[in-house]
């Protein structure tokens, strides 16, 4: 098995943000929801910065740039809203789970050679954005009580869905000829 395939499988075997996989769906408070949202955005921003520097594929670099722009814009909104509402984002098990997964993903990415890096990064982004979309639908939006915070999450959802669609297009392109 080629090294790139090993890395790809390692990515896919990582503990994804499988919030549904917890023993019971946690009932997050609004400060905890805010913390999860900001954490999820920061994770993608950090990995995208790595991709911008490491990738030699124009489409992957453009995708990474969009991730930085979009997730930063959402975080600016989230922080402004939390400030306006007087809400201090609160760390919680879901945020910690995201960070653990991100640390493991970063370890894999750092070891990947250039060709394997692009596929590993995009495969990770497909899985990550699908998991974030599922989390929005099944946990974050339903559990949020504050109407403004809920509206922000609802407004963000199409962007996450578009990121997922974009990542899948690139995933298909990277897979051609392999």
């Amino acid at each position: 098995m080629s090294r790139s395939r090993v890395l790809a499988f390692a990515f896919l075997a990582l503990p994804m943000v499988s919030l549904q996989g917890q023993s019971a769906a946690p009932n997050l408070t609004d400060p905890e929801v805010a913390h999860v949202a900001v954490t999820a955005n920061n994770i993608d921003i950090e990995l995208a910065k790595v991709a911008e520097g490491r990738s030699r594929n124009a489409e992957v670099k453009k995708f990474a740039a969009t991730m930085i722009t979009d997730h930063t814009a959402v975080n600016v909104k989230a922080v402004a809203l939390a400030t306006r509402l007087g809400v201090t984002p609160r760390d919680n098990a879901v945020s910690q789970s995201l960070l653990t997964g991100a640390k493991e993903a970063r370890a894999i990415v750092d070891k990947a050679t250039s060709a394997a890096f692009d596929k590993a990064y995009i495969d990770r982004e497909v899985g990550y954005h699908q998991a974030v979309l599922d989390a929005l639908d099944n946990l974050l939006i339903p559990t949020t009580e504050n109407a403004d915070l809920k509206q922000l999450l609802v407004a963000v959802r199409p962007a996450i869905a578009a990121h997922l669609a974009h990542a899948k297009v690139i995933q298909g392109q990277l897979g051609v000829g392999k």
């Binding site: 199409p158 962007a159 990121h163 974009h166």
Partner: protein, 120 residues
């Protein structure tokens, strides 16, 4: 054909009197069916261009309004290379359409967002 001097005078006078009215009515030589160019709005919301297919007239001004949290562009899919934007949240970008035809475009930041301008 040689017009009588009186006729030439009357023609010039008519034009001088009519022109301010025409300008006040927004008349443009290049306008469409009713002679008045329009401001046609395409809303960007939920990472979708609405309407996805916009039918406009040569001379119209097409305005993209971004109601999303994230920035967008309207970028020609063809090699004509026109681009409107980047357009930030709450802001507008516009283009006066000068050539008839059907023009596909997309958002350069989110390439799965696509639209069509049909210019008549």
């Amino acid at each position: 054909m040689n017009w009588p001097a009186g006729a030439r005078y009357l023609a010039r006078a008519a034009l001088v009197l009519a022109l301010p009215t025409m300008i006040a009515m927004g008349y443009r030589v290049s306008a469409g069916d009713d002679g008045v160019p329009r401001r046609v709005v395409i809303e960007i919301k939920g990472l979708v261009f609405t309407p996805e297919r916009a039918v406009v007239q040569v001379g119209d001004t097409v305005v993209w309004i971004n109601r999303d949290l994230v920035p967008h562009t309207a970028t020609a899919s063809s090699r004509s290379g026109w681009e409107v934007g980047p357009i930030s949240e709450g802001e507008e970008g516009f283009r006066v359409v000068a050539v008839a035809g059907s023009f596909r475009y997309f958002c350069r930041f989110h390439p799965t967002m696509t639209g069509v301008l049909v210019v008549r």
